[in-house]
Symmetry: C2
Subunit: 430 residues, 2 copies
Amino acid sequence: MPRTTNAPIVSVDGDRLMASLMNLARIGEIDGGGCARLALTEEDRAGRDLVLGWMHELGLEVTVDVIGNVIGTWNVGVGAPVMTGSHIDTVRTGGKYDGNLGVLAGLEVIRTCQQAGLVPTRPLAVAFFTNEEGSRFAPDMMGSLVYAGGMSTETALDVVGIDGARVGDELERIGYNGASPCPGIAPHAFVELHIEQGPVLEQEGITIGAVTGVQGISWRELVLRGQSNHAGTTPMSLRRDPGYVAAEVTAFLRRLAREMGGHQVCTVGRVEFHPNLVNVVPASVAMTLDVRNTDEALLVAAENAITAEVERLCAAEHVEASWRRLTRFEPVVFDRAVIDLVAGVAREQGHSVMELPSGAGHDAQMIARMCPTAMIFVQSHRGISHNPAEHTDRDDLIAGADVLLHVMLRLAGLDPSGNRASGDSDGTTR
Amino acid sequence: MPRTTNAPIVSVDGDRLMASLMNLARIGEIDGGGCARLALTEEDRAGRDLVLGWMHELGLEVTVDVIGNVIGTWNVGVGAPVMTGSHIDTVRTGGKYDGNLGVLAGLEVIRTCQQAGLVPTRPLAVAFFTNEEGSRFAPDMMGSLVYAGGMSTETALDVVGIDGARVGDELERIGYNGASPCPGIAPHAFVELHIEQGPVLEQEGITIGAVTGVQGISWRELVLRGQSNHAGTTPMSLRRDPGYVAAEVTAFLRRLAREMGGHQVCTVGRVEFHPNLVNVVPASVAMTLDVRNTDEALLVAAENAITAEVERLCAAEHVEASWRRLTRFEPVVFDRAVIDLVAGVAREQGHSVMELPSGAGHDAQMIARMCPTAMIFVQSHRGISHNPAEHTDRDDLIAGADVLLHVMLRLAGLDPSGNRASGDSDGTTR
């Protein structure tokens, strides 16, 4: 008879998790296997109704707050809950897993506990937050931001989207203008499971990412204005070419990111020439600069270096620059104890683990203002996300959900695996 | 009593020339003082009818050929004519002078000769060629190309424009499907007066440009394909960013043009990112490369250097390049004797002169295949053209027309200024 191992004695039902993901993915389905459920549209309403129904089936106490965040809580009434969750809205060409995995894995965690007769000391809660993607209404992560008190409800309800619709009106129209106030109740702890949306875990051959925080984000638009001129008749020495300056700025961003190293990334994703004709030196070029770092001081240094280089290039070419700030978030650092718990649980379950920051924004970064928080990442095939081709292997999805299960149980005061914090990890792992 | 000067004894009527320019500019007038007379539209027909009426008023023998070129000839029947001319079609946002000046100055030359009783030995002819701009139908300079035998009439008539209309049908519709065959009769010589459409004469403070030829033109489209990825989650080392390659290509073109010097110019005028979003490393970038030189060997060398650099950059970034040839014209070298005549006449009239190549294409470069040819340039304010703000000072317009008058008279065997080729130029000049 084998001795007691440290393998988890409970684990999620992979088939059941996959079935719920596929059922939700049918709502707003688009060509190529993706989803279009823009926030507060009919498709979003249908997705919400489906998940809300599952919460009721599990006997959760469901609240809808004033910004439409939905929280289902199991075992209410014994202290602040251990919360998980994410979002079920998508971009216009979204995948099946971004956001949805975090919500449906949360429900699968509760389902698993209920079936195994495990009742943790603290309540477990699963949330889906309104308008995480920001594709229809700005800013992104709106629901979790309002939940955490980072934006007033009034301001959020008055936001007008790209189609002219108002958040408050749309919430009412789809029946998700709830009564629970914001800011909401601070959880005991928060853990979000999400696909990486980047290539690092796959590239490194690692199953579980213990997310250390979220990169700070600087988005700026730079408009360069020069002199439109005939491409044949204007000598090089007389040109004031904003397209040339834009090119040098783009090349500088690459050099800067390489020289700074670490987690510094710089991207020029949008460039628009005007009048954009083969034989005309452009009159103006608008470009965006996406600059991110996990360290605020380094992010500021990068921004300053770019601004100075743009000034230098513009002076030399007699081009005028004007800047517009699009977005600025400081880096978020997750809770060390929760990060270590994620990594520890993953290792106990036999998974390879690495710590990494998130390059994308997530609801967890907002809830991190309220309570100890971290995230669990699983691989994204080729880093592709916001795309119908987004893919994560079934085994990775299930591994992530099992790590979430046991992290939540530990945070809620129950360790059904038989492991203690001292962690004798010499046994067989699966 | 003063001795005989070498000032011209005849000169054009500046008021009359300006009035004809302003009358033609009213047809297809657009905001900002420009014109929209796209080839073979109703506006083009109205412009043609106006100029045709003026030709008839001057008693010219008018022919319309199979591609719609209109030639008015004075004093028919004594050998091949000395021809001038240009075009009266415009781009969608054209100015008042591009093309129009060359045609109306030609008519003013004949009007001046008739009123002064000067009858040169050879006929004088004024042409306006169909579809010089190429804004509606490709290629540009179509009428003069067909006139010179560089494109068959059948091919040209079958060209379909950006609006789906066919050249042959549109010629018939506006009543300019003439009977004269193409290729047309070779002139004795051809001289075209045109605004520079570049900033060189103004920058140098020179009144008259004696145009030495037309730059060879290489237009290529380069499509770069990499890997679209999330701007936050994709480490710099894993990127395959076609936007970065496009930037380095653009910077290389600038360096190359500066290093080659002379008349080498390089322009990236059109750039299109896909999907063109702030937080997405682009999947692909399409860009155009406009490369010009007056020397064919240097132009080929520039093209080859660019192709090699693109290959090197693409290999380093793991980006794929595909090329498409849009346009390729070899440089055109004008006739040395006619160039010298333009410069000599301009100096006799007291104008500052410089030789320069044309960076833009002109009908004269097509007619140069048939007979000794050159061009006369006058200043363009700030080099602005293809724009309602296109401007040339009245004095410069008139100076250009007077140089055209006397160049044509010399070519046609008459020198009413009293000057001979030996040119005693010590007298008073105006």
